[in-house]
């Protein structure tokens, strides 16, 4: 039973981490394409680069949510109902974003669509960051439920992680766009990236020094997960340097692939730091939601494990294959 719960925690962590690794760069593109495009052609090239992918990326969110519902229903119910307003705003962001990306070239008022895409790409990562910041440092709840309200989420860890998510995803998307655009916009992005690289490193360093987990008085990591967390973060640091080197050597595709690993390990480190909690409480030692007190019964976990083991690798295989087929530095910026 315990082994199954741990396996499901690992799968749960992987699903969320892959989600941010993939949707992260299309959030970033949505946030910044207006700032880096010289003209309409640039804009449509940048948007066309995420158009075939954003919905497939978002399915990882749906899968993470569904897997959480099936594997840790109590955690799913508590997390989603306690974070009602921020989650609702995230959903509004996701709805508007998908809608605007798909309909931008069918609607006359492109300026309006640009504004909608920028804002709706900014809100979800910001609020996801705030939410994860709160998970990291623990939330004030006991057996009678969460007592912090919406404003209670806007604490130092929450805001800090919100900014980190936004900055990391912008960084991630710049590396993606470097593989997409040509001409002036390309130079602009490259020059900006060279400077933007330093705030990214600094924020990450602050994060590790600050380590929101430690703010929770009931933070009692076990050695293995603590070790994993530290190693993931350290490897991530090395990856940041590798990205820099790859950029200097002109290996742009490689630098984006490294950036995928960077986001993935950043998220994975956070989950390792949370283990065995899904939502730790910082006001009660015994009411924290762990994988042990919130999981489904072993039978459900087993059934779901069989499904995941068979189908997730298949999904990954065909998704990579389709990415490869559709990924191409375009010269004309044509949108369907």
């Amino acid at each position: 039973m315990e082994a199954l719960q741990i396996i499901w925690f690992i799968l749960y962590s992987i699903l969320w981490s892959v989600y941010f690794m993939l949707d992260g760069f299309d959030f970033g593109v949505g946030m910044i394409y207006n700032l880096f495009a010289s003209d309409e052609k640039d804009k449509s090239t940048m948007l066309a680069s995420i158009a075939p992918f954003w919905d497939g990326n978002e399915v990882w969110l749906v899968t993470a949510g569904g897997a959480m519902f099936a594997a840790f229903p109590t955690a799913y119910a508590s997390m989603f109902s306690w974070l009602y307003i921020p989650l609702f705003l995230i959903l509004v962001g996701l709805i508007l974003r998908g809608f605007a990306i798909e309909f931008r070239n069918k609607i006359k008022n492109k300026k309006l669509m640009d504004v909608i895409i920028s804002i709706s790409s900014f809100i979800p990562p910001l609020l996801f960051g705030v939410a994860f910041g709160n998970f990291y440092q623990g939330m004030p709840f006991d057996s009678s439920g969460y007592s912090g309200g919406v404003t209670g989420l806007l604490n130092l860890s929450g805001i800090f992680c919100g900014i980190i998510f936004v900055v990391f995803f912008i960084f991630h998307s710049l590396l993606w766009l470097l593989n997409i655009v040509n001409g002036e916009a390309e130079t602009r992005i490259y020059n900006f990236l060279k400077k933007f690289y330093y705030p990214v490193i600094m924020l990450f360093a602050f994060f590790i020094l600050f380590l929101p987990f430690k703010k929770n008085p009931y933070f009692m990591p076990n050695y293995i997960s603590y070790f994993l967390m530290i190693s993931f973060y350290l490897i991530d640091f090395i990856i940041l340097f590798l990205i820099k080197r790859a950029l200097n050597q002109g290996k742009r595709l490689y630098s984006f692939i490294l950036s995928l690993a960077f986001i993935f390990l950043f998220m994975a480190g956070g989950f390792a730091g949370l283990f065995p909690y899904i939502i730790p409480s910082n006001t009660s030692a015994i009411d924290g939601i762990t994988i042990y007190n919130s999981s489904s019964n072993p039978y459900t976990l087993k059934i779901m494990l069989v499904v995941a083991v068979i189908f997730v690798p298949i999904v990954i295989a065909y998704q990579i294959w389709v990415y490869k087929k559709l990924f191409k530095k375009s010269a004309d910026g044509s949108v369907y």
Partner: protein
């Protein structure tokens, strides 16, 4: 208004809106896949132009379906936390499988189908459209099995005050799920067919391009087949409801006093307050008993034999069912006519028929919504039939103001999206195919 009622309205609004766009996609993608197959087999570029034409319309609906779908999955946790805690062990399973098996398939190959035409071979491109079609239909399968558990829970035990899955195969063998899947998927094919029929009829009437006689014909055939399937599985569905959801059955037929040898009344108007029917006439003897159990001795339970707290809202359940049923009959009759005219290649000679087919199309959308209302309103007062009441299912921690905020914001947002989407659907449906 309390949090419970507002959460129910919010679920109805968001699910209803989602369901305005999704059924159509089930049918249209199958028609696109068929037309693309003909193109692949014959090389006739007329089929290719038709695929491109309907692809645009499909995209609009598909995208709205995707973006409005995510909020549904999240709502179970956000607004219905007690429900999620109580049934998550079972109910989360089909949702997670749906995402893994169906959503990835649809979304990833949708990208390849729409954007990858020049990046892959014709054969792979054809396979991708079929995979989108397959993914869409099996996503319906999984979500309807989740729903089937709410209607007729099977494969579970009650343990530690919640339901736990104890037999996945029993869960998957739920007849309610299979019947409902075939009923709903074929309804989706029917809506998609009518959509293509209406657009083609418009184009034929404008004398634009007689190419549309092909899509008209193909959609008429698929529509006709689907409409029979809807009726067949609808009937099986009703029998299943009779056996396992007696309160819903009594409400959809508005039977107050049950018994054996029950007649079927053609004209009925329920009077919920006085627990009777205002009007109940043109009775066909024994028919209700006979339809429910193939024997006039079949005993039907009336609404009065159930506690008032266990009855669903009768008027809504009854009218959703009856109007849906009548519309279904109308569709069959009309599709027989369309198929006949298409077969003898004469549709363009009857502008009245073409025009009528355009006006009938919105009715298929209404029929779908009514079917859904029947299913979910008729399930009340339960969220899981016989196990958990809707009133015990919602998130107790929510403040009234947060739900008022979310419901208002959803309504405004969806109104804006709905208006834009339908504006675009009409615009592209009327477009000249030469400009595509």
């Amino acid at each position: 208004m309390d949090v419970l009622m507002l959460s129910r309205i919010q679920f109805a609004v968001t699910a209803g809106f989602h369901f305005l766009f999704v059924p159509m996609t089930l049918g249209v993608i199958v028609l696109c896949a068929l037309m693309q197959t003909f193109y692949y087999k014959t090389g006739d570029d007329g089929w290719y132009r038709l695929v491109k034409f309907f692809q645009k319309l499909f995209i609009i609906n598909f995208v709205v379906g995707i973006v409005t779908g995510i909020s549904l999955e999240f709502q179970f946790g956000m607004n219905w936390a007690e429900y999620a805690r109580y049934v998550g062990d079972v109910f989360g399973v089909p949702l997670a499988i749906e995402a893994t098996l169906a959503f990835f398939l649809e979304s990833v190959f949708f990208g390849l189908w729409v954007f990858g035409e020049n990046r892959v071979s014709k054969k792979v491109h054809l396979i991708s459209v079929w995979l989108v079609a397959f993914g869409s239909t099996i996503s319906a399968l999984w979500i309807l099995f989740a729903n089937a558990f709410m209607q007729r829970p099977v494969g579970y035990v009650i343990n530690n005050g919640r339901v736990e899955l104890n037999n996945f195969f029993a869960f998957m063998a739920n007849p309610y799920g299979w019947i409902k899947f075939f009923h709903t998927a074929s309804a989706g094919y029917l809506v998609g067919s009518f959509f293509v029929i209406a657009v083609s009829a418009y184009q034929i009437m404008k004398n634009r391009d007689m190419l549309f006689k092909r899509s008209f014909k193909l959609a008429s055939y698929l529509g006709l087949l689907s409409s029979f399937a809807v009726l067949l599985f609808g009937h099986l569905h009703a029998i299943d409801i009779f056996k396992y959801q007696p309160t819903k059955f009594a409400a959809m037929e508005s039977v107050w006093d049950g018994g054996k040898e029950m007649p079927y009344s053609l004209i009925v108007i329920p009077d919920e307050r006085n627990e009777k029917n205002y009007i109940e006439s043109v009775k066909i003897p024994y028919l209700l008993s006979f339809m429910s159990g193939f024997s006039k001795e079949t005993e039907i339970k009336g609404l009065k034999s159930f506690d008032k707290n266990d009855r669903p809202p009768v008027t809504i359940t009854f009218f959703s069912f009856k109007i849906m049923f009548l519309l279904g009959m109308l569709f069959i009759a009309f599709l027989v006519l369309l198929s006949y005219l298409s077969y003898s290649d004469r549709v363009d000679k009857y502008p009245v028929v073409l025009k009528t087919s355009i006006f009938i199309t919105p009715l298929t959308y209404i029929a779908c919504q009514l079917g859904w209302m029947l299913s979910e309103v008729g399930r009340q007062p339960w969220s899981v039939y016989g196990l958990l009441r809707t009133a015990d299912s919602y998130s107790k921690n929510l403040s009234l103001s947060s739900v008022i905020f979310s419901l208002s914001a959803y309504s405004i947002l969806y109104a804006a999206i709905g208006i834009t989407a339908f504006y675009l659907i009409f615009k592209y449906a009327k477009q000249d195919i030469k400009g595509v």
